[in-house]
Each structure stands twice: as C-alpha cells, then as structure tokens.
C-alpha cells in the first residue's frame, strides 16, 4: 500500500506544472460550453416566448441564465488555477500521460463494440446480439477458448432474456426481425 503512494507523490511533485494541463483544458472547454449555453439562455431562448409568459417573474431562461454566469465564474477560476491544489493529496488512479502503456487499444475496441451492440440490438434481436457481444468482448480481451466462451455467452444471453422478458415483463425481441 505504502509503496505506490510514495511513487505517486513523487511523480506529482516532480511534474507540478505539467500535470495541471488536462484539467485546465477541461475547464476551458467547460467555460466555452457555458458561453454557448449562456448565449442560448440570454439571447435566443427568449425570442420565442409568448407575450403572456413575459409577465411572469420567472422565464424558462431565468435559471439557465444564473447557471451560465455561475459556470463561467467557476470554470474561469479553475482555468486560472486560483485555488492552489496540493498535489500530494491527490493520487491519480491512472496516469493519463502514460496512456499508451495501458491497454488503450482494448478499451477503444470494447467501446466501439458497445456502440455496435447498441445499434444492432433492435434489428438483430437480443439473443443474437448479446451472444456476439459477449464472445467478441472476451476475444478482444484475449480469450481463445471458443467452445467455453460460446457456451457461457449463449447460456447467459438466454437466461437474461428469460429474466427480463418473462419474469420482469419488459419486452425485448429475442430473435432477428426477419425471424419473428
């Protein structure tokens, strides 16, 4: 326990200014987002407001206006680093500067697989797409025992479909559209 902490602290202390950059970039993006949001709230939103609603003390844009101002203020303070942070307290779980040393390829492949699954779920049906998803997922992670893999994926998919569709009563098309 003690060893990795010490290493983290050393690394953070070493690159104090360097390690600021990603969170500041995010703060910058956030400020820009708030400006766009504020532009909508202050200018575009009120144009379509019916006259009877204009008598109201509160408009649909009132709260967003407050938020956009707050957001710009808070975002700018993070961007400028007004609040000094002591880096020793913060132990980053994954050092994003060394992202290439991690299994970034696997992560991206699995995320794309999730997107494909999302699009496929309706047309291909639950069971087919889930079996394929679970098998491809294991394969991406390096599993090569195809028979065990397909057995586990098939049993799990049918069992979960049964649980969701039959027991919980939430409809999910089990098979591809052209079969059912």
């Amino acid at each position: 326990m003690a060893v990795p902490h010490a290493r983290d602290a050393g690394r953070a202390g070493h690159g104090c200014i360097e390690s600021m950059s990603l969170d500041r970039y995010i703060a910058l993006v956030f400020v820009l987002l708030c400006l766009v949001y504020g532009h909508t709230a202050f200018i575009t939103m009120d144009q379509g407001l019916p006259p009877f609603m204009q008598l109201n003390p509160i408009w649909p844009s009132t709260f967003p206006k407050v938020l956009s101002v707050l957001g710009v203020l808070v975002g700018t303070s993070v961007l400028l680093g007004i609040e000094k942070s002591d880096h020793t307290a913060e132990s980053a779980e994954i050092n994003y500067r060394k992202l290439t040393e991690y299994r970034i390829g696997q992560a991206l492949a699995l995320l794309s697989l999730m997107a494909v699954y999302a699009v496929m779920l309706r047309p291909a049906g639950f069971i087919v797409s889930t079996v394929l998803f679970l098998m491809t997922g294991s394969a991406i992670l390096g599993e090569r025992r195809w028979i065990i893999m397909s057995a586990i994926a098939s049993i799990a998919s049918v069992f979960i479909w049964y649980l969701v569709d039959q027991v919980l009563g939430i409809f999910m098309r089990p098979l591809p559209a052209f079969l059912s």
Partner: protein
C-alpha cells in the same frame, strides 16, 4: 414512533420484502466484492430491476440491501486480496490485509462482519431517533427555504471534496445542474437545450448518467490496467476458521461503539459519507490507542480493522437521514436512490413520513434485518462467495459492460440512449483522468429540477428575487452556503501565506 416501527415491521415481514432484503444483501455482497465496482455502479445496475417491482417500499428495501451488501463485499476483497472494491473500505485493508496474510483471514472477516453489523445497527437506531425529529422541523420549510437548503447541500458537497478540489467539485455541480435543464421542464412546457435531438426532449435519463459516470469509467479503468483486478490469489482454505476470542471481542467493543456514533454523524453531513468516516475512524482510533496497540496498527490490529468497518456502515445509514427527511441526497449513492424513488413517483422529503409511512419505516426496519442477514447468512457463505474473485477478467469485463448497457436500455428502451451512455462514459473517464470528482455532477443533475422548481415557485410568490431578503432563514442558509465554499479556500491560502512567510 412505536406506531411507525409497527408499520415498518408489518411491511418488511412479508415474504416478498424479506426476500428483497436477502436478495439485495447477496447481490450487493457478490458484486461489491469485484474490484472496481462501487456501490453506486451496483445500485445503478439494479435500479431497472427495482423499478419493475413497482412497489416503492420493496424497491427501496432491495436497493438499501444492495447498498450495505456492497460495502460488506468491498471489505471482503480489501481483506482477502488488498483490492478494495469500494473507496470506503480502503481503510479496512490497512489492517485487514496484514491479518489475512498472517493466516487470520477468517478472523479478520469475522471482526469486519461483527463491526459492520454493530455499526449498521447502531446507525439504524440513531436514524430512527433522528429522522422523525428532523422531518418535523423540515415541515416548517417553504419552497424558498428548500431552494436555499439545496444550495447549502450542493455547496457542502463541494466543500467536502478536499483541499484544492473545491473549484473542480463546484464546476462539476454546475455541469450537473446544466444537464438537468436539458429537455422539457415541469414548469414550462417548452423543450430547452435539446440541440435538435428528439430523444433529448425528455431530458437525460438519470440511470444512463449514473452508469456513464460510475460504472463505465470504472470498467474502462479495469480494462486499461489489468493490475487493478488483483485476482486468483484468494486462498479459500484460510477463510474457514471464523472464530474470534472473548478477549478480542472485549477489546473492540469500545472502538465499535465510538466509531458507530462518529460514523453516523459524519454520514449525516452532506458530501462527507462513508469514505471520510472510515479514514477518520481509523485515524482517531490509532491516536487514542495506547502505545503497545498503536504499534500494531497497520500490521494487523483488530482495532484498526474494527474502526473503519463500523464507521463506514454507520455512515451509510447516516446518509439516509438527509435523504429521507429533506429529500436531499448527501452522496452519490443516495442521489441514485433518490432518482429511483422519483421514478417510482415517491417524493422523499419531510412529507414522506406522513404520506408514505410504510416506505419510510420499512426502509429503517429493513436495515436491522439486512444487517442481521449480512451477519448470519453472508459470513458463513463468504468462502464460497469469495470464489467470484477468481472469475477470469476476460469473462468478467464483457459481462460488466453488458449489464451497464442493459441498465440503461431497460429503463429507456432505445438505442440512442445507449450511444449517449457510451459518449458520456468516455467524457466521464477523461474527467476522472484529470481528477474531477463525478459525484457532484450526478447530485447536481438529480437536484437540478427540484432546485429550479423551488426557485421558480418562490420567485412567483414574491414576484422576483425579493424572497431572499424577506425570509431571514433563506438568507441565512444562502450565506451559510457561500461560507462553506469560500472559507476552506481562504484558510488554505492563509496557511500557505504563513508557511511562505516562515520559510524565507
């Protein structure tokens, strides 16, 4: 109160609800043990199941069971493989893991289970005493005070984020509030900020966001760094001997008593929660221990294990106080529970005790039963449940990803929701890389519409922002919120200035 307890007992002691408690505890323990999956992710995954039950009492009982089951499971993996599944059990690994390595894994698990049980039960008794009192006070609040109270809650969450993190936490809170304004509000039948995407007209789904902010980043971290899931080293033979001696019991009793009380009080504070309670509990017990015992801390002291275990469970129970009485969640987990309640058309708040006494009391009573189940059912089962630690990650990760997707899909039933989930998950992962806390964003998102509604109602009643000055309590609360955010930063900068003067 006696009447309430009877209502609660009547509700909980039905077969379905007892099954819910058992199922919740088992599922929670089971998944909570997996490294990387915290209680927030587990509850988010379980929400569609809970909602489809339909009965709010049963659903909340199930989710509460999952919650403390997950904490219990998290401490098991902390002790056995030094890989805490949950942040609030990190402190348990300080002494639990050395005990396990010394061949006393069974004893460590028993100490953890008994301390958790005591912490949870004492917490439930305190909850029973405190919640109705607080709810009675809260009944006097109007929408203006509610608005101010939520602002206080949100600022407190940011203030507790730790030094150097307040700005980031506030930024995330505002981000959550901004996301809450997307879609049609209750007040105005106008779609706002939908960017022309039709699926956004109803706003972001909160389960989708919960999954995207917690379950997905944690899984991505698991994929990126295989070392995170320290697996395959659980020696089940070492776990068999679960006995502890009478002397050991005697030495942990005062620790458990103190830490249950302290943990509960920390849990009640918004933003503090089980993680802070467990670390603080550990630190306090180490400081007040006598010299001999102090030397043992970190090397397998049973006091050092009992302290964080009772504190984190008591804090979990404590975090239900603001949720049940004010309807304001103090932590990410209770925010998810609040979302689930709203989805079941129960609005938590001071009227919950009056309008839905069965929900209110059933949850409290179910906590006793849940803790008892964790002790008598889970403890003997632990050697078997611990086998899940040896499931290869090649199978584990696709299943976790699949359950994440299913959680969002069952709730909304459309594919766009899943794509939003993936995109938000990637954004959340990048935010975590940069050290931004994500819980404030989710709490902000869930409180956002309530905050706006109460704000709007007060604006309409007082025809403008005059309500802030006209209602002293509102003004007082808002000033408190400002102080909560500004004081820690001011004190830190003064301390730095002094340190700078001292060191030439």
């Amino acid at each position: 109160m006696l009447e309430g307890i009877l209502i609660g007992l009547g509700t909980v002691l039905s077969l379905t609800n007892l099954l819910m408690v058992v199922a919740g505890c088992l599922v929670g323990t089971f998944i909570g043990m997996l490294p990387g999956l915290g209680p927030m992710s587990i509850i988010a995954i379980m929400i569609p199941v809970a909602i489809s039950i339909g009965d709010p009492a049963a659903a909340l009982i199930l989710l509460a069971g999952v919650y403390y089951g997950a904490i219990f499971g998290g401490s098991t993996s902390s002790i056995l493989i030094n890989a805490p599944g949950v942040a609030s059990t990190v402190a348990s690994s300080f002494d639990g893991y050395p005990m396990a390595r010394a061949g006393k894994a069974g004893k460590a698990l028993t100490v953890a289970a008994i301390s958790s049980f005591a912490g949870g039960t004492i917490g439930a008794i305190l909850l029973m005493a405190f919640a109705p009192m607080l709810a009675n006070v809260a009944l006097l609040f109007h929408s203006a005070e509610y608005f101010a109270l939520m602002v206080v809650g949100l600022s407190a969450i940011a203030a507790f984020a730790g030094s150097g993190q307040i700005g980031k936490a506030l930024m995330m809170t505002v981000l959550g509030l901004i996301m809450a304004t997307v879609g049609e509000g209750v007040l105005f039948n106008l779609p706002r900020f939908t960017m022309g995407i039709r699926d956004l007209q109803t706003g972001f789904g909160f389960i989708t966001l919960a999954m995207a902010m917690f379950a997905l980043p944690e899984t991505i971290f698991l994929i990126l760094d295989p070392g995170r899931s320290g697996q395959g080293c659980s020696d089940t033979n070492a776990i068999r001997n679960l006995k502890i001696s009478r002397n050991e019991v005697r030495s942990i009793v005062p620790v458990v008593g103190r830490q249950s009380l302290q943990g509960f009080l920390i849990g009640v504070l918004p933003g503090a929660g089980a993680t802070i309670a467990s670390f603080l509990g550990y630190a306090v017990e180490r400081n007040i221990a006598d010299k001999e015992e102090k030397a043992e801390f970190g090397k397998g002291s049973i006091k050092g294990l009992a302290a964080p275990e009772s504190a984190n469970n008591a804090a979990c129970t404590g975090s239900f106080v603001p949720l049940l009485t004010l309807g304001i969640p103090g932590s990410g987990t209770t925010a998810i529970l609040l979302g689930a309640l709203i989805a079941l058309s129960v609005s938590p708040g001071p009227r919950l005790m009056i309008d839905n006494p069965s929900v209110f009391w059933a949850v409290i009573i179910s906590m006793y039963i849940g803790n008892l189940i964790l002790l008598i059912l889970n403890l003997p089962l632990i050697p078997y449940i611990a086998r899940i630690l040896s499931v290869p990650r090649n199978y584990l990760i696709p299943f976790i990803l699949f359950f994440t997707l299913m959680g969002a899909y069952i709730g909304q039933n459309n594919a766009t929701e899943l794509l939003i989930l993936i995109m938000m998950g990637i954004i959340a992962t990048i935010l975590r890389f940069a050290g931004y806390p994500l819980a404030p964003a989710l709490i902000g998102f869930i409180l956002g519409s309530m905050l706006e509604n109460n704000f709007a109602r007060s604006m309409q009643l007082y025809d403008g922002v005059g309500f802030i000055l006209e209602r002293p309590m509102t003004l007082g609360l808002l000033v408190l919120a400002g102080l909560l955010v500004l004081v820690p930063g001011y004190r830190a900068s003064r301390a730095r200035a002094q340190a700078g003067n001292a060191a030439p």
